[in-house]
Structures are given as structure tokens and as C-alpha cells.
Symmetry: C2
């Protein structure tokens, strides 16, 4: 494997760009190739069999770019398809669930961990499973928060609406006595400030938030360093975007997730069939 090769990142849509952003911040010398399967988003409502089929398509396309590592920046795929991808693709793979779970396990003191995620991720039981594997004493309280994704995509991330929505989702978790909250969806880092502030307001003290996107970037950094695959320092890195639906529909939302304008970025459409 060549340390100068790119890192592949894929998601069912554009939420995974928060992971790409966190990787750019943690590993600025790396070249990233991001694939958003925007024509088939969301995966959360598909059967496991379909998600595996889609994930294979995304993984193989990125593998053809000669990548040195693959980041599955999608909770749904991470929940059901990592094992298949690990068998079929000859690159090290990092998902988003396990890093988030590991970070939460390191932070919690009471062993009561809250998770906000999409209905699909909650139904998959991926976070309770990952946390039980790390420490079976940890109790997980997972709550589906269907309004958070559209809030992020609309760009309504501060102000009264997201504040009241956050409060409504957080109160039952606080009532369960959680002392750590995992953002179990790649969209949610956009709402991080609002969630953090509301959680603090309800509890009366700061509660640590685990941002799965950042935890994933850190996990990737460790993996690259362990396998001597990190890009030579000093390079300026890059980010290339592929989407499966018309690219022009997504530049505004993409900019929101990336935290920067997409002008100057290459955004190309690919066909996964």
C-alpha cells in the first residue's frame, strides 16, 4: 500500500462530509476522495441486503481509485455492511459506529450513555452492540430524532426551532440519567452547539458530547500511523467529490456540511447502476 495514495470516504448522501471535514482538520496532508450516493439516499429505510449491495458498489468504485484506506461515513452501512466490505476489499476500513462508541466508553463515568440517531440506526441496535462489546456494564439509551436531519439540511441549526426540538429529544435522555451523549448520525455535528447548550441548560452542568465524525477521524489517524500509511507531512492534501445524482442540486447542502464553499472543489457525477 502506498502512503501517497488517497483515502476513500463514502456515505449514502452528504452527511458524511462532516467526517471528511474532521479528517481534513485532523490530517491536512491527506488526499480524500468522497462519494455520496445521493441518488439512493437515505439508506436507513432499506433492507440490510440492499444496504450491503449499495455499500459494495460504493466501496468498489473507491477501490478502483487505488485508495489506501476506506472510511464508511454512514451509520447505516457501518451497522450492517462493514464485515462484508472487510472481506471483499483489500484495504483497511474504518466505520463511524465503533469510534463513537469507543470515545463514549472512555468518557462516561456513570456508565449511562445517551445516543441520538436516525430511526434506522436506533432500530439496528448498532450502538448498544458496539458499547456492550467494549464494556458490558454500560447502559445505552438510544433515541430516534427524525427532525434533526431535515433541520441540518435546511440549515436551521441555531435559533428557536432547533433549540426547542433539541430540548424535546434531550429531556427523556436526561431523565434516564445519561452523563455522555453520542451524536450517532453524521449530520448532527451541525447541531453540536445547540445540542450542547440545551443539554447543559437541562442538566444544569456541562455534559460531554461525543461527535462520531471527529472520533472517526481520530481512529483513522491512528490506523494510518500504525500501518505507516500516513501521507508525508507538509503536503497540502485535497478533497474530490463524487455524487450519484445531479451535482448542482447539492452544492448548497454540501457547503453546509463541509463548513466551506464548494467552489473550487471538483464535484462529479458517477453512475453506480
Amino acid at each position: 500500500m502506498d502512503s501517497a495514495a488517497a483515502i476513500g470516504v463514502f456515505d449514502s448522501g452528504l452527511g458524511g462530509l462532516t467526517v471528511a471535514r474532521a479528517i481534513r482538520e485532523a490530517l491536512p496532508a491527506e488526499r480524500l476522495v468522497y462519494l455520496g450516493d445521493t441518488a439512493r439516499v437515505p439508506y436507513g429505510t432499506r433492507s440490510a441486503q440492499t444496504v450491503i449491495r449499495y455499500a459494495r458498489g460504493c466501496g468498489s468504485l473507491l477501490a478502483r481509485h487505488g485508495i489506501k484506506a476506506l472510511v464508511v461515513a454512514c451509520n447505516t452501512v457501518s451497522a450492517v455492511a462493514l464485515d462484508v466490505l472487510r472481506v471483499e476489499l483489500d484495504v483497511p476500513i474504518v466505520g463511524v459506529v465503533e469510534p463513537g462508541a469507543r470515545a463514549a466508553a472512555a468518557v462516561t463515568r456513570s456508565g449511562r450513555v445517551g445516543v441520538l440517531a436516525t430511526a434506522g440506526t436506533v432500530a439496528s441496535g448498532a450502538y448498544p452492540r458496539a458499547l456492550a462489546a467494549i464494556d458490558p456494564r454500560i447502559e445505552v439509551f438510544a433515541r430516534a430524532a427524525p427532525l434533526l436531519v431535515p433541520l441540518c439540511e435546511e440549515g436551521w441549526t441555531s435559533g428557536e426551532v432547533p433549540r426547542l426540538v433539541a430540548r424535546r429529544y434531550l429531556e427523556p435522555l436526561v431523565a434516564c440519567g445519561i452523563d455522555t451523549l453520542v451524536l450517532g448520525c453524521t449530520h448532527y455535528p451541525l447541531l453540536r452547539d445547540t445540542l450542547e447548550r440545551e443539554l447543559c441548560a437541562i442538566v444544569g452542568a456541562p455534559v460531554p458530547l461525543v461527535d462520531g465524525s471527529r472520533a472517526t477521524a481520530e481512529s483513522l489517524a491512528r490506523l494510518l500511523s500504525e500501518r505507516s500509511l500516513a501521507a508525508p507531512p507538509g503536503g497540502c492534501g485535497s478533497l474530490e467529490l463524487f455524487v450519484t445524482d445531479l451535482p448542482d442540486r447539492f452544492t448548497e447542502v454540501a457547503a453546509r456540511f463541509l463548513g466551506r464553499p464548494v467552489e473550487g472543489l471538483q464535484v462529479r457525477q458517477v453512475d453506480l447502476g
Copy 2:
């Protein structure tokens, strides 16, 4: 065709139950067979080709029940697949877009009609097309409102959150000078009161709302009467539910859309392959 036969109703999910409910209210003697393709919801993000394929599957399954009429209680399918279904199925078919458009055209005085719908329906251009066919002078201002479906599914239909969200979506439409608002998604009747109140508060006077679900029920009633297919009066009618994903996941949401508990209703799972 037998007037004692059932009426088939289908939607990508459960939103179409607001149409089933409106039909039950308008035509209490009719037997309804409802199919919600809950395993493949939402259709809005699928290609037209895929939506047509799914719609064929739903239509044929209901046709095998010997139905006397088919109601396509889904905006996405109504936008792209009605013609195909009309050619292939030997029953009269009613969609949701055309009745809503017709009702709006009858109500508007200024000829400026607002439409709230999902991003998919807005992108399809179905409402502007349907209204232009009725009266080319009508100007349509369609606005995607991605937060409204999750609000309905969460059951957050009154109070501060839906009020503020409604205001945010309605203000730009009011700025366009609309005098009529079409609820262009089968979920939205659950938010009717909130939308009506906020619209009145912004404008300073009541603005007529067109509920596509009710307009569709009225359209069906006319069709049955014209073709002498109405059920003999005095019968008590019925509603049978089929879903394509596990039925137990949906009873709560289904009850919300139907406006009554689903206990006592038959809910069965079918496989559309």
C-alpha cells in the same frame, strides 16, 4: 365492474391514510383496501423509472383484490406514474395532485396559488403542471417543506415547534402574494390547524387551505357516482390495511394518520418482492 367491490388505495407509506380517512368520512359505505409500501418508503428520492416500477407492483397487488377503483394516495406516484397505471390496469384511477389542483383553481381569486410539498414533489413540477392545464393564468409558488413530514410522524402537530416551523415556511409564500394554499403532501392534513392559524396570523385574514386528501375523496365520490359504482347506501364499509414492512412498527403512526386507534383493524404484511 361490481359496485360491491372494494376500493384500492396505495401510498409509499402511511401518509396516504389521511386520504383513506377522508374517503371513509365522505363514503362510509365503501370497503377500502389500503396498501402502504412501508419497506420502500420514501419514493420521493427515487428515479421516475423506479417509482413507476414500484407503483406497478402496488397497483397489480390491489387489482388482484378485484377492486372497482384505485386511488393513488401518493404525490410522487401521482406525478410520474398515473398514465402507466391507467394503461395497464383495467380500473378507473384517481391521483392526489389533480383533485388538489382543481380545488385550488376553483378557490383562488388572485390566481396566485401557494403549494407546500416534499422536495421530491416540488422538483417534479406536478402542481404547476396540473394548475397550468386547468388555467394557464394561475401562478404557482411551490415551497419544499422537509420538516413537516417528520413533525407529522412524530405527532408534533400542535405547540411552539410546529408553529415556528410553519411560520418559517409560510412567510416567503405570503410575500409572493398567494391567496390559496395547497397542502401538497398526504401527511400535511395533520398540521392543517397549525398551518391555517399561522397563515391567518401572518396575512391578518383567513386564507383558504386546500386539503389534497379531502379533494381526492370528493373526486373519487364523483367518479363512483358517474359510473354507478357507488356501494349500496346503508352498508357500514370497512378498512383493511396491508404494509410491506413489519406491521407492528407502524400502528402508532397509522393511528395518527387515521385519526383513530388501529386496534380491531386488520394489518397484514405482504411481499412485493
